[in-house]
Symmetry: C2
Subunit: 221 residues, 2 copies
Amino acid sequence: MTSVEEPAQTNGRLRDAARTRAEILDVATQEFARAGYDGARVDEIAARTRTTKRMIYYYFGGKEQLFTAVLERAYGVIREAEQQLDVEHLDPVAAIRRLAELTFDHHEQHPDFIRLVSIENIHGAEHIAASAKLGRMGSPALEVIRRILAAGQESGLFTADVDAVDLHAMISSFCFFRVANRHTFGVLFGRDLVDPAQRGHYRAMLGDMVIAYLTAERAAD
Amino acid sequence: MTSVEEPAQTNGRLRDAARTRAEILDVATQEFARAGYDGARVDEIAARTRTTKRMIYYYFGGKEQLFTAVLERAYGVIREAEQQLDVEHLDPVAAIRRLAELTFDHHEQHPDFIRLVSIENIHGAEHIAASAKLGRMGSPALEVIRRILAAGQESGLFTADVDAVDLHAMISSFCFFRVANRHTFGVLFGRDLVDPAQRGHYRAMLGDMVIAYLTAERAAD
DNA sequence: TCACTAATGTACGAACTAGTACGTTAGCTA
DNA sequence: TAGCTAACGTACTAGTTCGTACATTAGTGA
């Protein structure tokens, strides 16, 4: 999240639409992630900005649209990260493990994003459904998974007949739950799923799980 | 959720503390699950009850305590369900699959519970942490998993050296994500994870995944 | 049956909160 | 450099929302 923390005016200008807009988005992201859609306070966002509430309405129109803009940018970030993904040179098993690990890392590094997605689901995904930018956006990772799966299935290495979307769901489940539910899980079971000391443990567990699933010997269907 | 929908007075009484309390809890569960903690309206809960807002404060003290009571009851329900669990007579593989399927079914049948847990995580699990009833409650399923795992590992059937809490997290991840994130996932990938026609598919996928993970041939650690 | 209290209802207030009307100025361009 | 407009600030309002003061009654036990 391109945080803007400079003294007062960036690039010598007092008035900078792009900077003001970006700063509002930064703070709004934190605030929505902190308190949920209804818990977030427009006044609080404004207060933590170098500008005023007036500007939020000037640039975004309202709280609802601001939240949508926050989601659009957050999804854009993960989209970009996935586009960096380069696993073409790896064998299917290594490639899938790599992909799983990248998903794992991204989720861990963007807890705010996870919270925003949770919040959006509480609200039935109405904002992303209404967003032209986000509707059916899919994910660059999906195409990659598709190719790896095809290669693995062709070579007989992968026995599971699973499609890319379902495999993506499986990988995301684990990564998402670990971050999203860490608080209740921690209280109820006395175990912090995001404990840095256990990071490697869970990362390996995810990879093992996915590979085991894909390569398991199946009874005839 | 013991829904109370009778005409006016149950068991012949106009004033029935237990009934009023239960009815408030029922409606509050729906309202909190619908809109989140801050989105939920105390007035709305009262309106959909046969009693008044005054009673919410009389019985629970406030919105915060009401939400905690809602969580306590919701966790109580899953706790009870898990206590029914009887898999002692099954071999480890069948037992684990059974357990996974029960978790799967429970999550599917209680979307409100899933939403409440999501909401509670947005708020850092502060309510269940403060609740005497819920702190470190654990889960009856955990003991069952522990026993099955021990048996499976002893017999050499299970190769993964995973503990009960982590396995529980793995199973829950899949079940939770499927229900909790169905909305955003549906919009972004055009696939409804809770489509009844696909229920069997995902249920089998979960079992296959867990069993594959537990029984996979491992390279020496 | 009488009195006492748990249970309930009504009406209201104080604080908050999204959103806006109105006024001002920086910075670009002709 | 004059003027025009995008960018910005202040002060306010209308409506909402949690919570409560006060009044009332059902049911129970003596």
